[in-house]
Structures are given as C-alpha cells and as structure tokens.
C-alpha cells in the first residue's frame, strides 16, 4: 500500500505484542456505524496518476495572452523562488510551536513581517491571513473591536469580490455596512464625509482601486480620525514599488492580496492575505505574530508571541478563529522580495506602469474605444468604454488567443460596455500591438 510503512508481518507482530486484533482496535465504533467498502475505485500507481492529471492539466487553456487582472496577476516569478520554497524543511513543517526546531520558519516570518511593514509604511504586520478578501474582513472586524462601534463605510471601487465576501461574513452579525459610489474613478470625498459620523468604525478603501486608478487618501484618513474612525486600505503590493504607501497617507490598517509577490495564479489559490497596522492596535490584530526575544543563554531568537489574543488560549473571546494561515506563501513573498530587492521591485512596478500606459495610448487610439473615467492616473489597469458589449468582445478575443480583460458589468450593471484591462511586466510591446489589432478587428 502506498505511503504505509508497516508490513503485514509487522502489523501482526505489533498486534500480538498488544494482545489485540485489528478488528478489536475498531471495536469502540458501534458495528452499525461501520461502513462497507467505499465506492471510490482502486488506488493508482504514480505513473498512472501522473498520466491522469497531465491529461486534466492539458484541458486548461494556458496559452492565452493575459490582459486579465482584477486583483490577481500574471507576474514574472524568478526560478530561485520555487527552488527555495521547495525545500522540504520549510514545507513539511507545521506551525512553529517548538521554537528550538522552528527557527527557520520563525525568522523567515519575522523577516516577512518586517518586509510588509517596509513596503506599506506601517509598524507591525501579522504572520499572514488566507487571502486579500478575508484579510479585509478581518481588518473590518478589528476596527469594530478597536472602536467599539458598528458602522462601516466601504466604497464600491473596492474589489467587488471582497465586497461580496464581506456581505456574506456579516449576514448574521449586527453591523451596518454603508456603500459609497465611485463615479469618476476616484473616491467621492463628499459622499464619504456625509456618511462619516461618530458611530463609524472604519472607512474601507483600496489603492489602486479595482478600476486601476491611483489616489491619495490622506484627506480621508484625516477626516476619519477626526470622527474617531479608522482608515482601512487594501493595496496591491507590487504597486508599492513606486506608489505612496498607505502608512504615509495615515491608514490605520493595511491589507492586501500578496499573490503578486511570487505566487502563481493556480486557479485561485493558495494565495496570501497580508495585514499591517500601527503598534497601538497590535493587541487587536488577528492571526499569528512572531517576535524577537532571547533564549536562556541570551542568544537572539524568535517565537510566536502575543498568543493571548488567539483561539487556542482565548477560545470564544479570541480576536479571530484563524489557526493555520498561509505561512509558506508568506515565505514565498519574502523570498520574492529578497530576490528582486529594493531596485528590482521599483523597476518591476515602473515596468508595469509604463507598459500599461503604453497599452492605454495604443488602445484608446482605436476608433470608438475611449477611457471610461475622468480620473487619468492609473497603475497597471484601466477601464475602457467599448462601442459594443464588453462580454461579447472578450468572448471574440478569446478565440484570437487573448484574455482581453474583465467585463465590469458582472459587478457593475451600468458598465455594460466597460472592460478592465491589465498589463504586467510580462507583456511585451509586440503582444500589446497584436492585442490592439485583434481588438480593433472585432469591434
């Protein structure tokens, strides 16, 4: 039997030594609760299972040229990333409960926390959450705890996938969710100010927002703080290679999807939710946190700390129910950022912005194709108005080998002809040119 070490002979020997039988070992389960043979087929040897899965992998179209983003991106991943995270000392370990045999994981997560702080301009980060959406939900819950209030304002330029997740999570809770509408591509200050009051726990925004537009929320942070509310900002970590940090804008909690930092798209996961905040809120933060300390002999080392916030100690009074997080993905992000380094990340972000800007000029030169928003500053995604329904155009372009972008009508019903186009550093000038030609040909 695969992966089972004891031979039949050894099993017999062990049972004999205990004076038990295999049947006896299961005698505590009432007989009528035992099931018969499962109808799941016979086991397959490695060679066959690889054949089966290779065939399934072959049924996925991976040769499309991607201009599809929407919060999940096709970035270049250096070979060394995979090589390092494939070390089984990392991936076959578990939560570092025993620090003496887990200094590798612990130090790496401490470095990851530091890296996230440096990237976002914040003071403290946790060891990771599941993904950008659950991170935003956890940030919202954290803001409710920190302020003792129950109203949350969220702009509709925040990733709609995250907004529907937050709606699901809060259905059974007494939370007032207020949505503001983004009409120009930038957050409407007047609407936010009108909704902000003494009962507001948090304002949740995103930069660059779902439409790709770049903003500076310093004024909103100020306004929120004046009312005693927190500003939560979700961000795209690659963009922070060049963009102003949420920390410098005055954000109180920063979250985001870390997939762009060296993780493949893998049809939706595993990804990486990151979260950072200011020291004053550290005890309200959910998730594991690694701290530096010293051992018996005064040697510097790392441990899980502030565990009194967590479910295994506090049970129903914990800040969150999270236990397993995305540690290996956090390691991936750290390795990716280390390989790129300070200049490399900046250059990558710059390349994304440059190429997107080039594509924008090229695509808006097509007759009938216009920018949708008044706001003209974007990072690597932008919204175009097409002369036809976007979903149709995208379907036609799939046949020509392009995933042209995201049809916004899926979440914004009045944006029928709008397409969200994404350009990463992986796209070439030639691909952009071919894409423009293909788009023109189907309009």
């Amino acid at each position: 039997m695969p992966f089972i070490a004891n031979t039949q002979e050894q099993q017999k020997q062990m049972l004999a030594e205990m004076g038990l039988t295999m049947e006896g070992l299961f005698s505590d389960i009432p007989k009528k609760l035992l099931c018969g043979k499962l109808n799941i087929g016979e086991g397959l040897p490695e060679q066959e299972v690889r054949g089966v899965l290779a065939e399934l992998a072959g049924k996925n179209s991976i040769d499309l040229t991607l201009f599809l983003g929407g919060g999940f991106y096709d970035h270049f991943i250096p070979a060394a990333v995979y090589s390092i995270i494939s070390r089984s000392e990392f991936y076959t370990a578990y939560t570092p409960y025993q620090p003496e045999v887990s200094q590798g994981t612990l130090q790496a997560i401490y470095e990851y926390q530091s890296m996230i702080c440096r990237l976002t301009g914040m003071e403290v980060a946790n060891a990771s959450l599941y993904d950008g959406g659950t991170a935003m939900y956890e940030a919202m819950m954290m803001a409710l705890r920190a302020t003792g209030r129950n109203k949350v304002i969220i702009d509709d330029s925040v990733n709609p996938i995250y907004r529907v997740m937050i709606e699901s999570y809060t259905k059974n809770l007494k939370i007032e969710l207020v949505q503001t509408h983004c009409a120009t591509g930038l957050v409407d200050r007047e609407q936010i100010l009108a909704k902000l009051d003494d009962g507001t726990a948090a304002v949740i925004l995103q930069n660059p927002n779902f439409f790709g537009c770049v903003d500076d929320f310093s004024d909103i942070a100020q306004a929120a703080h004046n009312k005693g509310a927190l500003l939560v900002v979700s961000c795209y970590p690659i963009s922070l290679g060049i963009l102003k940090t949420p920390g410098s804008m005055g954000a109180d909690i920063v979250t985001g999807e870390g997939q762009s930092l060296g993780m493949p798209m893998s049809f939706g996961g595993p990804y990486l939710g990151f979260m950072a905040t200011r020291m004053e809120y550290v005890r309200k933060m959910p998730g594991r946190i690694i701290g530096r300390t010293v051992d018996r002999q005064g040697r510097p080392c790392f441990v899980m700390t502030l565990q009194a916030r967590e479910q295994h100690i506090r049970r129903e009074k914990a800040t969150s129910n999270i236990c397993s997080n995305e540690a290996l993905c956090a390691l991936t992000a750290l390795v990716y950022l280390s390989l790129l380094g300070k200049e490399g990340l900046k250059e990558t972000a710059q390349l994304c912005a440059d190429k997107a800007s080039f594509a924008y000029s090229r695509l808006t030169a097509i007759p009938g194709v216009k920018p949708h928003f008044k706001a003209k500053w974007f990072f690597n995604e932008f919204v175009l108005d097409l002369p036809k329904e976007a979903a149709d155009v995208i379907a036609k372009l799939i046949e020509k080998g392009f995933a042209a972008g995201f049809p916004l009508s899926r979440y914004y019903p009045d944006m029928k002809n709008c397409i969200l186009v994404c350009v990463t550093e992986k796209r070439t000038k030639q691909q952009i040119g071919m894409f423009a030609e293909a788009l023109e040909s189907v309009l």
């Binding site: 389960i29 099931c35 109808n39 996925n60 999940f72 096709d74 000392e89 060049i242």
Partner: protein
C-alpha cells in the same frame, strides 16, 4: 543567525527584471508616488539562496524525522503531489477565466478536479454536497456555522447558542462566536467522552447546534455519537463534525452515517498535503441534503454533455466566503493522494494510524501516566508520571528532551482537560522501527528524569537556541526590523 536586512549590501542586485521595450510613459502624477523606494534588502541571487538554505536547516519537518504532533496529522507528503501541483496547466490558470463568457471551457481540467473531489469527499464522509472554498480547518468551521445560521434564519428558528465539548480545539468556540453565537461548553466524563446527561441539561430550543470532534482530542471514539446527534436534532439543532481527526476512521466509518449534518475536512491532515510551516491548508465543508442549498457560491456542476460549469445562481446560499474556488493547488494535491490510495488504501490509512497510536499507548503506559488507558484511535495522550513530576519534570521538559533525541515533540498542554498533556499522533506513514526508537527515547527520558532531572531541564542542547524567553517576547515587543 543574522537577519536578511543585516546582510544587505547597498547597491547589490539580485534578479534583474525584464528590459523595457516601451520607454518611460508612466501615467501617475508625482504626488501619488513614494518619495524613496521601499527599504528592501539588497542581495545577489546566491546571497538569497544561501540565507534561506541556512534558515531551512534550522527547521524540523516531516522529511527530517518523526513528527508526532498530536491532532495535526503530520504524515508523509507525497512528492508526486508536489510535482503535479507544479504542472503549468494548473499553475498558470487565471481564476477569473470562468467569469468570461465561454471562459468555463478554458478551465475544464481544473473544474473536473474540483467536481471529482466533491464526489470523492461525499462518498468518504456520507454527505450530499461539498464546498471546496474554505482555506483552512478553522475557515471551514466558520463556513459551517454560517450555513447553520442560514438554515435557522430560513426556517425562522430563534437560535442563540452553539454547544461545544470542553475538550474541543480552540477554533470551535472562536468560530461559533465570530459567526454571532453564544458558546456553551459541555463537560466530559472521567472516561474522556461527552457527558450525555450534561448535554441533556444544557439542551434547549435556543441551541442552534453542536460542534464535535470525533474521535475527540483524547483520541477516543464517542460510543454515544449517534444518540448525541439525535438529541441535537430533537431541538432542530444541527450536528457539526470537526474533521480534524478524520484520519482515524477514514474508509471505515462516515460522519454522515453517525447523524452529522455538516462536516469539515482538513485536507492537509487526512489527505497528506504539506503543512507549509503553518499553512496553506484547505478545509472543504460537506453538508446533508437539506443544507445543500446554503453552500457558498459558486459550486461546480457537470452538465448533460459531460462538460463542467460553475453555478452562481444559488438564492439560498450563504454567499462568497473565498474569492474563488478555495486553495486549488492544495485540493489538487489531496485529489492526487486519494486517487493513489483508493478505497482499500484509505482503510489501511485508518488501520495503521490506529495501530501505531495504540502501539505507543501500550508500550509507554508503564512509564507515563495515561489520560485514559483504553483503545484509542489516531492518537494517545499521556502526562509525565508522578515520579517525574516530583522530580520537577513537566510536559515541556519531556518535549525539549525529545528534540535532543532527534524527534519532534508531541503537542503539549492540550487538551486542556488533561493536566500536563502530551498528545502523540504517530500517523500511518511511520514504521514500527521509528515507533520503537521513539518509545526508547521516551523511556530514556522517563528514567533520566528520576536519575538526573537537571539534564532533562537543560534540554535541548543540540539546537541553535534553547528555551526562548516567551514572557520577555510579549513584554518587550520586537515584531519587525525597521
């Protein structure tokens, strides 16, 4: 070891981003840009590789040696699953493709994996339908309790509490509380299983449901499991099965047959996907027929023509709990594992995990204090013997002494219902030789504890650090190098 930031050398370059072929045409106004680049470390590629190789050598994984961390099911993670999860046909698949018109046809292979996995898990657990979305066990718990809440809301039931045994994992009460319920704890008997008469005392119409781990955290299968589920149903409550310990009964018995309504499975435990140093995991949730409509959006369906599609139109659904289809690459690995084991293989998994746990229980019971010395399932729980405690040796000392003998310690100080608990889960992938060596090490520790307890107190001496000061860590917070 020095931090990566301390090794950084100004101006050194690692991986070079691609060359620009478009010129600097960036379209962002200056005020929106950061003043100076993020202070990341600056390295050559070799520096990075060496730094992390050195860090990895300070870690202990399943591949290193025996890792009997109770309740975590640290079994061998097959390499073939790693290989398959790295096929470009899976890694290079954008999750939004199915949301494009006709896009579902671009991802048929991935949808097939999700659909087939759903069918396999239904058969293994006796449930009627699954969501693959939860990204860890605790996330599955929250999803399950949200389904419970949706069911009661839909039926107009006024329910306020969730019952949880005192021996449960901390995630259970935390998940119930986060979903908006009050938690009521149910005590265990001195035999280590749920006290049914105590359950009857706290059972009333306010009870939304019960969360139960079975086998429980003492490794015991509750003989009254069916009666317990029936009792919960008598007040229109739902019985929730925490699948953390499914490994002990997989292929032999099914929670659906016990009377459970909602089940979560930790794929990273029972189905052998790597624990990653603390994740990513996956915690699919299965439900009985009456709850299928409440499962999250979307689910994969198979159409008449044999193609797969995502179903979004689910009016009673609790909604979206993950951005897409869960931790796909983790689900894929677990799928590979189940295909390789097949029905017979899974039975052998349960049998050998239980055989190995009982072997340790019997071999160590004369040297350590058994929490309950009866047939256990996948794990057994001990405390240090009276003599050891008198010599000042605690569970933590045994744990540290095991490290010096080349083993990862068991889970210690859990479950909280046992003083000085040491929870040992060997799993089926370990051989008799490994177990014998571990048993010898434990006996050696027991003997040395009485003879030279200071040697045990000094452990571990073979690791780069020894007993970090956790109090200082929480007091003098140093959480980032800035």
């Amino acid at each position: 070891m020095k931090l990566i930031f301390e090794k950084s050398v100004l101006g050194r370059r690692g991986v070079q981003p691609t060359r620009s072929d478009v010129g600097t045409t960036i379209n962002i106004k200056r005020e929106f840009l950061r003043d100076r680049p993020a202070e990341l470390a600056e390295f050559s590629e070799l520096d990075v590789v060496r730094h992390f190789t050195q860090l990895s050598r300070c870690n202990f994984g399943v591949d290193t040696n025996f890792y009997p961390l109770g309740s975590c099911t640290m079994k061998y993670n097959p390499k073939v699953a790693e290989r398959i999860a790295s096929y470009p046909g899976f890694t290079h698949l954008h999750p939004l493709l199915p949301q494009l018109r006709g896009g579902g046809m671009l991802t048929q292979g991935a949808l097939a994996v999700l659909y087939e996995m759903d069918l396999l898990l239904r058969e293994i657990t006796g449930m009627a339908g699954f969501t693959m979305q939860p990204m860890a066990g605790a996330h599955g718990e929250l999803t399950g309790i949200m389904i419970m809440a949706a069911y009661h809301r839909d039926k107009g039931n006024k329910k306020t509490t969730v019952l949880i045994p005192d021996s449960a994992h901390g995630t259970n009460p935390a998940s119930a509380a986060i979903a908006g319920y009050k938690v009521v704890s149910v005590p265990s008997t001195d035999k280590g299983v749920m006290d049914v008469s105590a359950l009857k005392r706290v059972l009333n119409d306010e009870v939304a449901g019960l969360m139960l781990t079975c086998p429980n955290t003492l490794g015991l299968f509750d003989p009254h499991i069916k009666e317990i589920c029936d009792l919960i149903h008598s007040v229109d409550g739902l019985a929730y099965y925490d699948g953390a310990n499914l490994n002990a009964i997989v292929g032999k018995a099914r929670p659906g047959d016990f009377g459970f309504d909602i089940v979560h499975i930790n794929l990273h435990k029972t189905f052998a996907t790597p624990h990653g140093g603390g994740g990513p995991g996956a915690g699919p949730v299965g439900v009985t027929k009456k709850l299928v409509d409440y499962l999250p959006v979307s689910i994969v369906v198979k159409r008449g023509d044999g193609t797969y599609a995502l179903e979004y139109d689910r009016p009673k659904s609790i909604g979206y709990i993950a951005p897409f289809y869960g931790n796909f690459a983790v689900i894929l690995r677990a799928y590979v594992y189940i295909l390789m084991l097949g029905s017979q293989g899974l039975v052998r998994v349960a049998e050998n995990s239980v055989l190995n746990a009982n072997y340790i229980r019997v071999k160590l019971r004369d040297y350590f204090e058994s929490a309950v010395d009866v047939i256990c399932k996948h794990e057994c729980v001990f405390s240090p013997s009276k003599k050891m405690l008198e010599a000042g040796i605690h569970a933590i000392d045994v744990a540290k002494a095991l490290i010096d003998r080349g083993f990862h310690p068991p889970t210690v100080y859990f479950p909280g219902t046992v003083k000085e608990a040491m929870m040992i889960e060997p799993t089926e992938t370990e051989s008799k030789e490994t177990l014998d060596a571990f048993i010898e090490a434990m006996k050696d520790i027991a003997a040395l504890s009485e003879r030279e307890p200071e040697k045990i107190k000094a452990a571990p001496v073979t690791t780069p650090v020894c007993r970090p000061d956790e109090t200082a860590a929480a007091k003098n917070l140093d959480l980032a190098y800035l």
